[in-house]
Symmetry: C2
Subunit: 183 residues, 2 copies
């Protein structure tokens, strides 16, 4: 089964983390919740999640995808963290999947992996994903980069990641059980 | 501002807890995440959330609403817990708001607060909310009881709870910022 890491920094948007984790784990994907430190990570609205591991323990060669949730405070911390930048660049080098939602595509822009790409982002942050071409859709795919817009699109984002990692049939099954919209 | 408790038992459905917490806290509602014990509570898909407090510390007279998330394993534990039953009955006695989603309306039925009510539930559990009248809608309100169907309806459920506690205008504003569907 594919293996995915989702990176939590203090101030992450809770729904944008939990919806993809929920959908992916239902699909049988191994999801590792990685904190920047081993402590519980407080979300933007102070939901404290105990990470499974820390970013130091992640081995990019073992990962099929890395996901960055949004939340302005959390994304600012991801942007400033050289371990996050190195991990994203390692994924990009192998053209492995990278997912980012809400404010998080701005971190991908900062790390230099959005050149020549179509992408989406929280609508007020369109300027901050340049040089990517902004597409006003809930979820946008361009090769290995999957981006999404915000909390209200987080479950659709999660289901798209299931589709990319396991296939449409599994995504459809997970969506049906979750009573979620999908295709 | 209104004060709400959401009860987490091991095996709770993570999205059904986090979506209402997110929407309500964005609306300025005080949300207390209460575990059955003080330890981090593992969700159905093993997302470990550190509770703010335990059910012992909750005072029903200080609460405007109690929310029960779904997840079959978590709901089974809620049903067996006499403190949960006493709290729900105390809320019902004062006609205070009670919210339940997915499998959780079956706990309300067991506690005897669904007599003569319209309610919804995860569709495969329709028989288990009798004597309530099942309504096949994402969110159903009947006086002080608000029920919803599953993970895919959790954000709509959360926004309805914002509407009930703070008003439609605030629910509309929160939905707009979350890029969520609302009315």
């Amino acid at each position: 089964m594919p293996k995915v890491a989702i990176l939590l920094a203090e101030g992450f948007e809770e729904l944008e983390a939990v919806a993809p984790i929920d959908a992916l784990r239902r699909a049988g994907v191994e999801v590792v919740i990685a904190g920047l430190t081993p402590d519980p990570v407080a979300s933007a609205r102070n939901v404290k999640i105990v990470p499974d591991t820390t970013i130091e323990e992640l081995k990019p060669e073992e990962l099929d995808m890395v996901i960055l949730p949004g939340g302005a405070g959390g994304v600012e911390k991801l942007k400033q963290d050289q371990r996050v930048e190195a991990l994203i660049k390692a994924m990009q080098e192998k053209k492995k999947l990278i997912g980012a939602i809400c404010a998080a595509p701005t971190a991908l822009a900062k790390f230099g992996v959005l050149q020549g790409k179509k992408a989406t982002v929280y609508p007020s942050l369109v300027e901050e994903i340049k040089p990517a071409t902004y597409v006003d859709q809930p979820v946008v795919e361009d090769e290995n980069i999957v981006t999404s817009q915000g909390p209200g699109t987080a479950l659709e984002f999660g289901l798209k990641l299931v589709e990319r990692l396991v296939g449409k049939e599994k995504a459809r099954e997970v969506a049906r059980r979750m009573l979620a919209r999908y295709e």
